[in-house]
Structure formats: structure tokens, C-alpha cells
């Protein structure tokens, strides 16, 4: 049976497919890196502050916020805990907090996976979501276009394929990412 994937797997797969291998095929113990610790702290701080802020950063005037919502879709075989979602009269929008100044591609598809999950949960179309860039205090809107939805599902298929084939993936295209990776010690071919 296919394993239930986590939304963060999409981010990890795009960052480096070997993380998926070390998570599902050959599970190993991992260390928390300082980068992860800082990210976690900033996340909590942002969630605390968000509760008191208005929705101007999202270009919205009125709406309700829901924090740390657990989402699961048996159809997609996917689960995750969403940082926040906004429910406004014209629809609902997932929000993912990121401690970065620049929107990365892996963050985009993580958010889209949340959008798909939220859509299943609410039973209503979700047209897009926001990535909240913590250092800038700015939210970037990402539209869930038909192509982006398909690509996100393709990514889920690719992750399942990697797990099913149990093949050790080749080095990622960005070798610089290995510098602060928690799995670095397990990759024999990384200097």
C-alpha cells in the first residue's frame, strides 16, 4: 500500500530527493540543524503576532484566521498541518509562514499541496494561497492554476515512485544545499 505522504515531503523532494530516501526507504536518525531551530522559533513568533494583526498584508479587509489546522485527504494520500488559513467571503486561502526573503520553487508547491488539501477538507474550490515571508512581513500570492495543480500531483507520483523503486537518487542539482543539510553525514559522495 502507498504510504500517506506529508506536505513537507514535496518541499524536501524538490530540495533534495535523497531526503525522501532517508525518510521512507532507509530511515535514519537526523539532527536538528541551527537553521531549523531558528525557523521554528520565527514560526511560533509569527503565528502569535498574526492573531493580533489585520489582513492588510494579504490585500484583504475582513476574514477569519484558523491556525495549525491538521489536513488529511485519503484521495490524495496526503496529510499536513497548515500554519494558517484565511476564510473570507470570496473563499479560503492557505497561508504558509517562511523564514526567508525570497519565494523558492519548493515553497510554492508545498503551498499548492496545502491548497489541494484545504479544498478537499472544505469541499469548495481554493483558488490560491499566500506565502508569508517573515523577515519582510510581506505575503506573496500564489495562484493554483490548473497546470500548477497537475504538477503538484505529478510530484506526489514522483515521490511515490522513488519510495516504491527504493533507488538511491543521484546528487541534487544544487550541491550547495548540502552544506546545512541534516542528512549530510549519510551521503558518502558529498565532500
Amino acid at each position: 500500500m502507498d504510504p500517506v505522504l506529508k506536505v513537507s515531503d514535496i518541499k524536501q523532494y524538490l530540495y533534495c530527493p535523497r531526503i525522501i530516501y532517508f525518510t521512507y526507504v532507509l530511515p535514519v536518525e537526523k539532527k536538528t540543524t541551527p537553521k531549523m531551530e531558528i525557523g521554528k522559533e520565527e514560526h511560533l513568533k509569527t503565528a502569535r503576532l498574526e492573531g493580533r494583526r489585520r489582513l492588510r498584508a494579504y490585500g484583504l479587509t475582513e476574514g477569519e484566521r484558523f491556525f495549525n489546522t491538521y489536513l488529511f485527504s485519503p484521495r490524495l494520500g496526503l496529510e499536513g498541518v497548515l500554519d494558517m488559513y484565511l476564510a473570507v467571503p470570496r473563499g479560503s486561502f492557505p497561508v504558509d509562514f517562511k523564514n526567508t526573503c525570497r519565494l523558492a520553487v519548493n515553497h510554492k508547491y508545498q503551498l499548492l499541496a496545502y491548497a489541494l488539501l484545504l479544498e478537499d477538507q472544505l469541499g469548495r474550490p481554493v483558488r490560491g494561497g499566500f506565502i508569508y515571508l517573515i523577515p519582510l512581513g510581506r505575503a506573496v500570492y500564489v495562484e493554483a492554476t490548473p497546470e500548477a495543480r497537475l504538477y503538484t500531483k505529478r510530484l506526489l507520483g514522483a515521490i511515490r515512485g522513488l519510495i516504491g523503486q527504493e533507488q538511491f537518487p543521484s546528487l541534487p542539482r544544487r550541491a550547495g544545499r548540502c552544506a546545512d543539510c541534516e542528512y549530510r553525514n549519510y551521503c558518502g559522495d558529498v565532500g
Binding site: L103, V105, K108, E143, E147, A148, Y151, R173, R174
Partner: protein
């Protein structure tokens, strides 16, 4: 074929152009970032753009056979027809431009006459077509020419009627605002140095690709590849592509246009395809037979000698 209809132009201006600007593209997926991952080529193998963008062979074995084994496939009828029809359209449009420069705006009747006289030559015997196939193709060439000739003449008259002081260069550009068979060097992205787009509109800017077969989802990979190469070469964003599908129904030509945004997803898909196929070539990996080989595949007899 490359001139948009009024409703398509409206769709382009009111939907695709603003939408493309609104959606944006991840900076790392812009062609001008060819020098860093993920666009930076991983392998030394140089591929033609059609090899990356063509997914007619589901496993990509065609690239392995051509590049590693040095086997040349046998072009099928659709490929021969497509190549001839592409050439004839480019030739007609270039002939129109040539006539404008040759006769000038003062002698526009001569331009019209030259265009009206333009007739396609029958397909050469070297194409390997049977007599019936050659006759069928000639019929299609005539339909295509008559369609395009009428459109060029109409555009020429319209431009002349609107601009009384127009010169030859502007007349040529306003009548046929596309560059045909634009040559591009794809080396920055690990692609061939001799790429050629069917047509390119600089004013939008938009890559145009002409097809005479069934629409397939991976056709958009072609326009995506050219857009990335354009961005790498000229450092301006190319956000739009358009695939023009021509279909012959009896003596009529049906034209459908698939305008699309060169989105993050298409860019990612193109890079994945490039890397996968370049790996087959660089590491000499045979990806194996596809499960569902199309019988029209140029390598069908190589992959399935008994089949």
C-alpha cells in the same frame, strides 16, 4: 497561420499578457539564470530541442538510439508532410517580405501580383513519398498557400490603407510581424547551437510553433524550450507561447491556436526532461522499451524488429 484572430488577440491582451505578469516566474527558472542550477546543464551532452521536447517515445529511447547508438530513424509520413508544409509556409511569407522590399510601397500592385503568382512546387522525389502521397501533399500545400496568400494580401492592403506615408521596412514589419525560422544558440542550456523557432513575435514577445498533427500536452515543451533559450540569449522575459495546429479537412484548412503561459511548471518539466535525456546520452544508459510504442515511431523497426 501565425496571425491571431480578433478574439484570440483579445484573449491575449486581456487575459494571457496580464495573467503572465501577475503570476510571475520563479527567478531561478528564468533563462538568464542558465549559469546556475537548476538551469545549468549537469551533463556535457548536447541535445536538439526536439529531442528534449518530443515525448512521442514514452521512455525516451529514441534519444539514446540516435545519440549513443548513432542510429537514424526512418521519418514517417506525418514527419515528411510536416517538414514540407513548414517550409512552404516560411517560403511564402519570406517571398511576401521580399516582394515588399523589391517593389516598394509605390508599386504595391506588383507586390500583390507577385504574391498571387506564388505557387508551391510539387514535393521532390527525394522525400520518398509514393505518387498518391505526393499528390495528396501537393493538394495540402496549395490549400495552405491559398489560405496564407489571402491573409497576407488582406493585411498588406489594410496597412497601406491606414498609413499613407509608410516605407518598405515598416510595411514589411506591419504586414508580417514575425521572424521566421529565427536561429538561436541553445548552448547555454545544454542544447544545440543551431536551434530554430518556427516563428517569433518580438512585440509581445511570443514563441510560435506550427504543428500539423494531433495536439499533445508535451507540445508546449517546445515553446518553453525556445522561451528559455531566448531569455538566456537576450535577457528579456518571454512569457508566452502559441502552438498553431493546422488540420486539413477535405479542401479546407482548420486552424486552432493554443496560446499558453510559459509557466514555472512547464519550465520545470522542460528541465527535468533535458536532464533525464542528457543523462541517457552522457552515461550511455538505455532507458529500455516503452510499454506502448506508437507504430509510426521512426525507430519502431529498431526497437521491435519482429513486431
Amino acid at each position: 497561420m501565425y496571425f491571431l484572430a480578433d478574439d484570440e488577440r483579445k484573449q491575449l491582451l486581456r487575459y494571457y499578457l496580464p495573467k503572465a505578469r501577475e503570476l510571475g516566474v520563479a527567478e531561478e527558472l528564468r533563462g538568464w539564470n542558465w549559469h546556475q542550477p537548476p538551469l545549468e546543464p549537469v551533463y556535457g551532452a548536447v541535445l536538439a530541442l526536439y529531442e528534449v521536447a518530443g515525448r512521442y517515445c514514452p521512455s525516451g529511447r529514441d534519444v539514446f538510439l540516435r545519440r549513443v547508438q548513432g542510429i537514424r530513424g526512418e521519418p514517417n509520413l506525418a514527419m515528411i508532410q510536416g517538414a514540407v508544409l513548414h517550409d512552404i509556409l516560411a517560403d511564402l511569407l519570406v517571398a511576401a517580405k521580399r516582394a515588399i522590399y523589391l517593389y516598394g510601397t509605390g508599386n504595391y500592385r506588383a507586390i500583390c501580383e507577385a504574391l498571387e503568382k506564388y505557387a508551391p512546387a510539387p514535393p521532390l522525389p527525394s522525400t520518398g513519398l509514393s505518387e498518391a502521397e505526393a499528390a495528396d501533399l501537393l493538394g495540402k500545400m496549395e490549400i495552405l498557400c491559398s489560405f496564407e496568400r489571402a491573409r497576407v494580401l488582406s493585411r498588406l492592403q489594410e496597412v497601406l490603407a491606414r498609413h499613407p506615408y509608410i516605407g518598405e521596412d515598416s510595411l514589411a514589419n506591419l504586414t508580417i510581424p514575425v521572424v521566421l525560422e529565427q536561429k538561436l544558440n541553445g548552448a547555454f542550456l545544454g542544447l544545440s547551437g543551431n536551434l530554430s523557432t518556427d516563428a517569433f513575435i518580438f512585440s509581445e514577445p511570443m514563441i510560435l510553433d506550427l504543428k500539423f498533427g494531433e495536439p499533445r500536452d508535451f507540445h508546449r515543451l517546445g515553446t518553453t524550450g525556445y522561451a528559455l533559450v531566448m531569455e538566456a540569449l537576450y535577457e528579456f522575459p518571454v512569457n508566452l507561447g502559441c502552438i498553431v495546429y493546422g488540420e486539413f479537412r477535405g479542401d479546407r484548412l482548420i486552424v486552432k491556436r493554443d496560446i499558453h503561459i510559459i509557466s514555472d511548471e512547464l519550465r520545470q518539466w522542460f528541465i527535468e526532461e533535458r536532464d533525464e535525456k542528457a543523462r541517457f546520452v552522457a552515461e550511455e544508459i538505455d532507458p529500455g522499451l516503452a510499454g506502448d510504442c506508437p507504430a509510426t515511431c521512426p525507430f519502431y523497426r529498431v526497437c521491435r524488429p519482429g513486431g
